[in-house]
Every structure is written in structure tokens, then in C-alpha cells.
């Protein structure tokens, strides 16, 4: 069910109304949210709902076993029953045998009893395997809980990680690696291996909910979080529909406590929630979908490009198309996130910020603190730091950065272009570290030459410039955008949009900055350079193959000419992007989460009207899929 569809609007209105009717019973609200979330996901394909339930029960079990040492019989029974029921319902029941409708204005349900059960043997084999697995696990469980505590904790952690990654690996990467291995063997040996791919369907949102459930278990293992004893609580955390299929990848420490207390929503929450939804729809349906038209028409001729494909002579058109894709992917993803946050806010929940004006980043490190914050912080906390982070020397740090970004690229999709995109970002992160290190040493040297007395202070200041990668190992409090705070074990990306001002090398502690214009100029150049580096990465991300990348680069650098088609692309960029760029620039200047804060009512009214009229008149017809649904 797409956020930008009538079906979702009807679904959400019904859910929201029922939800607030139950406002005095938050546990029943949680149940309602759970059913709504399962319906939301099952609307696409009910079979894959089983994967969410499987991941839920797996991590519920592992977390309790890690922390408490064991699960009670009742807890195990409930979890086992939940899992088996889900397997039966999702895989064993043929929902097409049920027909709900109205007969003579009365609701009626007709059942084709002969076809109620699914007839495919493969599905029954899976249900049987689930049943056997449950029985074997319950039989072995007492023995597992008698392991030495450290071994037990590691065993259940490994079980969660291995099984979650196996599920993700099979559904997302099996066909990709099988096809790649096949073509590699064929090109090297010349032998044809036959077709090894299985045609596996990629479940929507699997990359998101698998990472989310894994983070829950890992945080319990690290002692940052108490595991939940209620399987429904873990279930609704995993499946919470606003952020289920395309993030943000929420942390249990932030989201789960919100399910454990009554939610309140005042008029300000409703206003900001509605604004986030409207703005998210604007980003998606007006900006992103219209940019997609010029991007797709520019890239389409190169879908089967090879070395013989002619290079276009109007390179500036291709450059503008890459800018358009940069705006498209940002608005598509940020639009989804804003709708998710707005939807959650109307339900009384706070979901983390996922973007902080990423195209104003000045360096690669800054970019990854602003883009897809939930993923980058997840990779930092659960991959980069466990690999060693920057604690074992410079070369190890570089290796860890590249590995993390490579896997981050692979997370986005099963294609070598995504891996290359990840590698590209890994490379520029390493390059930035090298340059920053050299700059730091250079700055210290200059200070020593110019002002030997102030050199020590400058050294400390310069240290802060490259201290972004340093991780804290203590417990810190992080302020949430909703005004509360949560404790977490690692320094998380700030959830509140800060007033941005980074320390410049020309700043002297305790003194005035005499270089205001110069620093603005330097910042502008840095932003411009970083934006173009990111665009180069987007070319790798969007291109159908490497030949397309080569064609685009040759055209842009060797044939930077204008054409009437370039004018069309520029017009699209300006016409559909001006309001978005203006409001984002205002947001950056004011440092507020939403642009409407603290504005007079008349200005807010007009902004609302322009956004609504744009949705009515300028949006692309037909609900278009979100890009990140494919991940």
C-alpha cells in the first residue's frame, strides 16, 4: 500500500479514528496498531508477512534468553503459537477463497470451503518445517539455557544475527550472487553452468525490518536495553507501519518505550503531523515524480548501452539530469520519511529524523551524518565500531570505512552498481580523512611557525576537526525531537536539527572571526564540491550499467554543450524544484525542524495553500512507487 494512494488514505483514516477512540487503553491501542501494521504489509503480499513474524519471534526469543537467561514456559508457548499461527495463516490459507461484500445492502462473507487451504506443496513443506523447528527448539531450549552465561549470550546473539542475515541474504542476494557466479565461471572457463537462479521475490522492506530487529537483540546483548517480555510489544515495534517498508530504521531504545506508555497528541502535534504529511506528499508527488520523468527519459536510451553506443554531444543536458536525479532521490526518500514521521506523530509517536539537509554537507563525513541517518548510524554502531572503528590505527580505520560503505552499498540492492556506489563513498571518506589529517598537521605546523605560544591550543582545536569518527563508549543522553530523551550506549546521530555552524580552521579560540565573508565563501565551495561528488555517486547508483557511466562522463567532460532538450530539463528542475529549494534554504537558515515554525499565521496559511494547490495541479497522475521500496 503506497503512502501516496487512496487506499492508504482510507486505511489511515479508519486506523486513526479507531486508535484515538481507544485513547484510554494504550495496550489495546498497541494491538490495534499491530493488526493495522500486519494488514498494511499483508495488503502487498500476505505470504511475506510470515517473514516479519519470524524475525519478530526470533529476536524476542533471543533477547529474553540473552538477558534473562531463559524464557518462561508461558513466554515460549506464546511465541511458538504466534509463529505457527502466522505460518498457517500466511502460507496455508487461501485468502481468495473468502469473498467479502454486500448483498442487498447487508455485509456478507462467502467462503469457498473447497479451496480454503492452499494447494501448493512447497508452502505446506515450509509450514511443516516451521512446526518441526519449533518443536526441536523447545526441546533443545532447556539445554541451551544451561550453557555458561557468556556462551549462552553469544549463542543467542549469533543465532539472531545469522538467521536474520540468512533470511535477508536468501531473499535479496541469492539470485544476484548465483547469476554473478554463473557469468564469472562462464567467462573464465567458457563452460555454461545452466541457470542457478530461483526467481526469488524480494519482500518489500526486508532490508529495513531485518536491521531493525537485529539492532534490538544487539542492544539487549550490549546491556543498553531491557528486553520486552510481551511478544506483542516486540511485534508492534518491528512492524509499526509508518516506518515498516522504507525506514527510518528505528532503535528499540527510542521507539519501544513509546509503546509502553499512553500516547498523547495535542493540537500542535496534529498540526505538525499534518504538515509533515502534506510536505512529504509534495516532495514525493510534485518534486520527485516530475524529476523522474526527465531522469528516466534521459537514462532510458542507455539501458542496453555498450562500448559502441554514441556519446551525446549535449553533455550539459546529462549533467542537469544527474542534478535532477539528486533531487529526485532525496525528495522521494525524504518525502517518504516525512510522511512516516507525520503519520506517526498523528498517532502520538516520535520517529527519528532521517535527513538533515544532506546537500549542504561540506565533506563526506558530514554527508553521512545528514543522509539516511538511521542507516549510517546503524552501520556505524553495528558494523564499523565492532570492526574496530578507529581504535586500531589509521590503516585499520580506512579498511573499516571502506568495508562499511561497501556493505552499505550492497544493502541498497543486489547489483554491482550499488556496490560500486558504496565503494566510491568509502573511497572519498578515506580520501577526506587523509586530507584532513594532512591539513591538521599543516595547521599545527603553521601555528608553530606563526605563534609558538598558541600552538598547543590550536592543536586541540585541530583535533576537534577530525574527531567526528571518535566514538564514545559511555552512556549518553540524546535529546529527541519530541522533547524527551533516551539513553543509548553509543553516541547517536542527533535527533534534533542543530543550528549548523562548523568550526573553521581560521577560527581562533577566544578571538573574533575576522574572515566572515571568506569563511562563507569557503563553505560555499566546500558544499559545491561535495554536492558534485555526491552527484557522481548518484550516477553510479542510477546507471543501468558501467557503459552508461562512461558515456555520461565522456559526454559531460568532453562535450559540455547546450541543446533545446537541456532547456527542457533545466525548466523542469526550476519549475518543480524552486519551492522545495526555497523552503529547504529557509529551514537551513533558521535551523528548525519544519519550515513553518515561528512564522505568522498568514504566511503559514499561504504556504499551506501553495503546497496543496501544487499537489492538486502539479503532481504526476497515478501513485508512483517510492525508490527505497526496492530496498
Amino acid at each position: 500500500m503506497l503512502f501516496n494512494s487512496i487506499a492508504f488514505a482510507v486505511f489511515f483514516i479508519l486506523t486513526l479514528s479507531s486508535y484515538w477512540l481507544l485513547r484510554r487503553r494504550y495496550r489495546i491501542q498497541n494491538l490495534l496498531l499491530l493488526f493495522a501494521s500486519y494488514y498494511f504489509y499483508g495488503f502487498w503480499d500476505v505470504r511475506f508477512l510470515f517473514l516479519i513474524v519470524f524475525s519478530t519471534v526470533l529476536d524476542y526469543t533471543c533477547a529474553l534468553s540473552i538477558r534473562n537467561g531463559h524464557m518462561t514456559l508461558w513466554q515460549r508457548a506464546r511465541a511458538s503459537l504466534f509463529l505457527f499461527s502466522a505460518a498457517l495463516f500466511c502460507l496455508g490459507i487461501n485468502l481468495k477463497a473468502f469473498d467479502f461484500g454486500f448483498v442487498e445492502h447487508w455485509p456478507s462473507l462467502a467462503v469457498d470451503w473447497q479451496h480454503v487451504l492452499v494447494s501448493k506443496p512447497a508452502y505446506w513443506r515450509v509450514i511443516f518445517a516451521v512446526a518441526i523447528g519449533i518443536l526441536l527448539f523447545n526441546a533443545a531450549y532447556p539445554r541451551l539455557t544451561r550453557l555458561e552465561p557468556n556462551h549462552r549470550r553469544r549463542f543467542f546473539l549469533a543465532m539472531s544475527v545469522v538467521m536474520n542475515l540468512a533470511m535477508l541474504g536468501f531473499f535479496k542476494y541469492f539470485d544476484f550472487f548465483a547469476a554473478s557466479l554463473q557469468s564469472a565461471v562462464e567467462s573464465v572457463t567458457g563452460h555454461t553452468l545452466g541457470n542457478w537462479t530461483l526467481g526469488v521475490i524480494l519482500p518489500v522492506g526486508i532490508s529495513f525490518f531485518v536491521f531493525q530487529t537485529m539492532s534490538y537483540t544487539i542492544d539487549v546483548y550490549r546491556g543498553c536495553l531491557q528486553p520486552s517480555t510481551a511478544v506483542t510489544e516486540v511485534a508492534v515495534f518491528v512492524s509499526f507501519f509508518p516506518q515498516l517498508v522504507a525506514g527510518p530504521i528505528e532503535r528499540a531504545s527510542h521507539l519501544m518505550p513509546q509503546f509502553r506508555r499512553p500516547r498523547t497528541a495535542n493540537l500542535a502535534c496534529f498540526r505538525s503531523g499534518l504538515w509533515l504529511i502534506a510536505w512529504g506528499l509534495f516532495e514525493k508527488m510534485v518534486v520527485a515524480d516530475n524529476m523522474a520523468r526527465v531522469v528516466n527519459s534521459t537514462f532510458a536510451p542507455f539501458s542496453n548501452a555498450d562500448g559502441m553506443t554514441p556519446v551525446p554531444q549535449d553533455g550539459l543536458r546529462l549533467l542537469l539530469a544527474i542534478y535532477a536525479f539528486a533531487i529526485q532521490i532525496y525528495c522521494d526518500f525524504a518525502g517518504y520519511t516525512d510522511i512516516a514521521r507525520g503519520t506517526a506523530r498523528l498517532l502520538g509517536f516520535d520517529i527519528m529524523l532521517n535527513f538533515r539537509l544532506p546537500y549542504l554537507a561540506r565533506n563526506p563525513s558530514d554527508f553521512w551524518k545528514r543522509w539516511h541517518i538511521s542507516l549510517s548510524s546503524w552501520l556505524r554502531d553495528y558494523l564499523y565500531i565492532p570492526l574496530g572503528g578507529n581504535r586500531h590505527g589509521t590503516l585499520q580505520m580506512y579498511r573499516n570505512l571502506v568495508l562499511t560503505m561497501l556493505l552499505g552499498g550492497l544493502w541498497h540492492g543486489a547489483a554491482w552498481t550499488f556496490v560500486l556506489w558504496g565503494a566510491f563513498h568509502g573511497f572519498i571518506l578515506v580520501a577526506y580523512r587523509v586530507v584532513a589529517e594532512v591539513s591538521k598537521k599543516g595547521a599545527v605546523l603553521i601555528r608553530k611557525v606563526q605563534c609558538p605560544a598558541g600552538a598547543a591550543e590550536s592543536e586541540m582545536l585541530a583535533e576537534s576537526l577530525v574527531g567526528e569518527g571518535a566514538e564514545s563508549s559511555g552512556v549518553v543522553s540524546v535529546e529527541t525531537a519530541g522533547g524527551g530523551s533516551v539513553k543509548c550506549c553509543r553516541r547517536q546521530a542527533s535527533l534534533r536539527l542543530p543550528v549548523s555552524r562548523s568550526v573553521e580552521p581560521t577560527d581562533v579560540p577566544g578571538g573574533e572571526n575576522h574572515n566572515g565573508l571568506a569563511s562563507v565563501g569557503v563553505a560555499a565551495v566546500q558544499i559545491l564540491i561535495m554536492f558534485h561528488l555526491v552527484c557522481l555517486g548518484w550516477l553510479l547508483f542510477r546507471a543501468q550499467n558501467m557503459a552508461t557511466v562512461g558515456i555520461f562522463l565522456r559526454s559531460i567532460f568532453l562535450h559540455p554543450h547546450w541543446s533545446p532538450a537541456a532547456t527542457d530539463v533545466l525548466w523542469t528542475l526550476v519549475f518543480y524544484g524552486w519551492l522545495f529549494v526555497l523552503l529547504e534554504a529557509i529551514r537551513a537558515r533558521r535551523g528548525t525542524e519544519t519550515v513553518l515554525e515561528h512564522w505568522p499565521w498568514f504566511v503559514r496559511l499561504n504556504v499551506w495553500l501553495v503546497v496543496l494547490m501544487s499537489l492538486l495541479a502539479l503532481s504526476v497522475r497515478g501513485a508512483q512507487q517510492f525508490i527505497y521500496f526496492a530496498f
Binding site: I6, D99, F100, G101, F102, V103, S108, F575, L605, N606, L609, V610, M613, S614, L616, A617, L618, R621
Partner: protein, 364 residues
């Protein structure tokens, strides 16, 4: 007293807000997204389907053109009256189609029917046009219109303008259906929103809005899309009504059903049978879908392509491709023919008439 004042203030605020919204919306659309002002004047005919409102003169405004449309006292797009009986020695060419047939986007003399008649006259054929097209028509409605009204004009040649929307429109109208391989009439009427429209158009302010307000046109278009393609099919499915939309998908395979094509074939066959009974020839114009200025696609039911000897079909794709890059369709409205597109189609139709010998016999 306090209550009345605060209630009045609230009403005044809401009222002012609404008026402000309407004004801002209107200004926004005129600057950023001028709407297609294509008012449709349709009414209910005596024979249960839509027809053009008689004796009307109104303007169509789009970013690319502005044209005037006039209908005579019988609702035909024409500048004068056309008697049922035709003059001695005159051949009558009757066109039945939708907005393409009506000539949306072009003046009367630039319609492809007019161009066709001009070309035939230049070739020495004494003929006159009769345009029974109505915007929104499908093949089913064309058959009904032909039977109830069209044959009164004693046409010698009937031209059916086939368009991509006809497949679904024939199913949706539910005027005819195929039962046991036979074409049967299912419903006597198909008047989608006609009655409500007639009622609203009696209000002068509403009529003025329909003609002049971009905001009204935008809201009307969006709501029509939502109602036609989302709400009505969902309601029919839920109410378990004899849902024509259910015929659009194969329930078992979940693939597009062949029923719309079968229904279209049956309707065209019936039209041909009726034409033969009334001594008229039939020519089908296959209006292609435009993908770009150089790419066009036929949506004609593929089964019929093998039966060209049964139906006379003219497809202008080859003629369009010879003019590669020219603007043959309007690009900022619903995609109707430009005057150049109409000229090509009209000349092509005239050429087909001559090649197939459709007006070769003596005039009746």
C-alpha cells in the same frame, strides 16, 4: 448575544478563508498550471445515451489552442442544419467517434472528417459530412447512436473512429455484453453523471465557473478520475453488483482479460451487419496512441488485424512516421490531433475510400 457574535465571527472567518482559498487557488493555477478549459456540453438523448447538447456555441481553451465549437439543433457539430433526407446524387459520410471524432483541438473546417470530404470532393466525389461523434463515446454507444439516429441520415459510408479507450469504455458502459458467444443488449441507458450535470448547468453561476474557472476545471478533472477509476469500481466490487469492471481482469490468471477485445469485435461486427442492411459501407479509423513525435502504437484488437478482408481499416501510423518529428498531436492537453494531424488522417481516409472503392457505386 455573545454567542451570536462569536458564532458570526466564526462563520465570517470560515467564509473569508474559503473565499481566500478559492482566489489563491485560481491565481496559482492560472500562473503555474493553466488548466484545460474544455467544457463538455452533453445531455441525455431520447434513446438513453449521451448526446451533444443542441444549438450550443462555446470555446475550448488549452495552452496550445483556442477554438470554438458549435452544434446544430440536433447536437451535431456543424454550422448548419442537416436534413435527414440527403440531396439527389449526394453521398453522405457519417462519422461516429469520441472527442477525436468531434474534432477537439481543431476548428470545424480542420477536423479530419472535413479534410476527408475536401479530399474526396477534389477527387470528384460529391459528398457531405455528418458528424454524430460525442466526447466520451465508446463503440457500444456508437452502435446505439447509429441504430437510433444515424441511419435516418441515409449514410453511404460510416466511419467508426476506434480509440484506445473504447476497450474499457465498452465494458464499463454495460450497454452490450457477450453471453454464450452472442452479443446481447444489457441496458437501455448509459448516462454517467449526465442528469446531475444538466441540473447544475441550469445554475448560471455554475455554468460560468465551468467555462471560466481554472480551479473548477482542475477539481472536476481530479474528482472525475478518482470516481471513475477508483471509487466506482471498488464500490461495485464491494456491492457484488454485476460488475462490468470484473471483466477487465481474468479472475483466475490475474491477467488482463480478453473479454474487452471480444466485445469490441462483436460490436464492430454488429455495426457492419447494420451498415450492410442499410446499404452503407463501413470504414474503421484506427487512431494510434502517441508515445512521442516519432513513436505510435495501434490499440486495435489484435484478432481483427488478421481479418482485414472483413473490415476496411485505415491506420495512419505509416503516414505519421513519414512526417517524423512533426507535431501531429497536441502535447499539453488530452492528446488530440493538431490541424496537421487531422489533415494527414483526413487525406488518408479519403485515399482508403478510393482504394477500397467504398463510394464506387451509384448514389442512392
Amino acid at each position: 448575544m455573545r454567542f451570536n457574535r462569536s458564532a458570526l465571527m466564526l462563520v465570517a472567518k470560515v467564509g473569508t478563508g474559503c473565499v481566500y482559498f478559492l482566489l489563491v487557488g485560481e491565481v496559482f493555477l492560472r500562473f503555474f498550471s493553466p488548466q484545460l478549459m474544455l467544457p463538455r456540453y452533453v445531455c441525455a438523448t431520447d434513446y438513453g445515451i449521451r448526446g451533444n447538447t443542441p444549438s450550443q456555441s462555446y470555446w475550448h481553451r488549452a495552452p496550445e489552442y483556442r477554438i470554438n465549437i458549435r452544434t446544430n439543433s440536433k447536437g451535431l457539430r456543424a454550422d448548419g442544419e442537416i436534413p435527414y433526407g440527403k440531396p439527389q446524387g449526394m453521398r453522405r459520410i457519417m462519422l461516429l467517434g469520441d472527442s477525436f471524432g468531434m474534432g477537439y483541438g481543431v476548428s470545424l473546417e480542420d477536423t479530419f472528417l472535413a479534410r476527408m470530404v475536401d479530399s474526396l470532393r477534389a477527387a470528384g466525389v460529391k459528398c457531405e459530412p455528418v458528424n454524430l461523434s460525442v466526447s466520451g463515446f465508446g463503440t457500444a454507444e456508437e452502435l446505439v447512436a447509429l441504430q437510433e439516429e444515424g441511419f435516418r441520415y441515409e449514410p453511404d459510408l460510416v466511419v467508426i473512429a476506434w480509440h484506445a479507450t473504447d476497450l474499457d469504455d465498452n465494458v464499463r458502459s454495460n450497454l452490450y455484453a457477450i453471453e454464450g458467444k452472442e452479443l446481447v443488449r444489457k441496458n437501455k441507458t448509459f448516462l454517467p453523471a449526465v442528469k446531475s450535470r444538466e441540473m447544475l448547468f441550469q445554475v448560471a453561476a455554475f455554468r460560468w465557473l465551468a467555462i471560466h474557472s481554472h480551479l473548477y476545471c482542475c477539481l472536476r478533472e481530479r474528482s472525475a478520475e478518482v470516481v471513475k477509476f477508483k471509487i466506482m469500481p471498488a464500490m461495485r466490487r464491494l456491492m457484488d453488483l454485476d460488475s462490468p469492471e470484473s471483466e477487465l481482469t481474468d479472475e483466475v490468471a490475474g491477467t488482463p482479460s480478453m473479454y474487452p477485445q471480444e466485445l469490441a469485435i462483436a460490436l464492430l461486427s454488429e455495426i457492419q451487419r447494420q451498415c450492410r442492411l442499410h446499404g452503407a459501407e463501413l470504414l474503421i479509423l484506427d487512431i494510434p496512441t502517441r508515445h512521442s513525435r516519432t513513436e505510435f502504437q495501434s490499440t486495435f484488437p489484435s484478432d481483427l488485424l488478421d481479418r482485414k478482408d472483413v473490415f476496411h481499416i485505415y491506420s495512419p501510423i505509416a503516414d505519421f512516421q513519414r512526417l517524423s518529428g512533426e507535431k501531429l498531436y497536441w502535447e499539453k492537453e488530452h492528446g488530440h490531433f493538431t490541424p496537421l494531424g487531422c489533415k494527414i488522417v483526413g487525406e488518408g481516409l479519403a485515399r482508403s475510400v478510393m482504394e477500397f472503392g467504398l463510394l464506387a457505386g451509384e448514389a442512392m
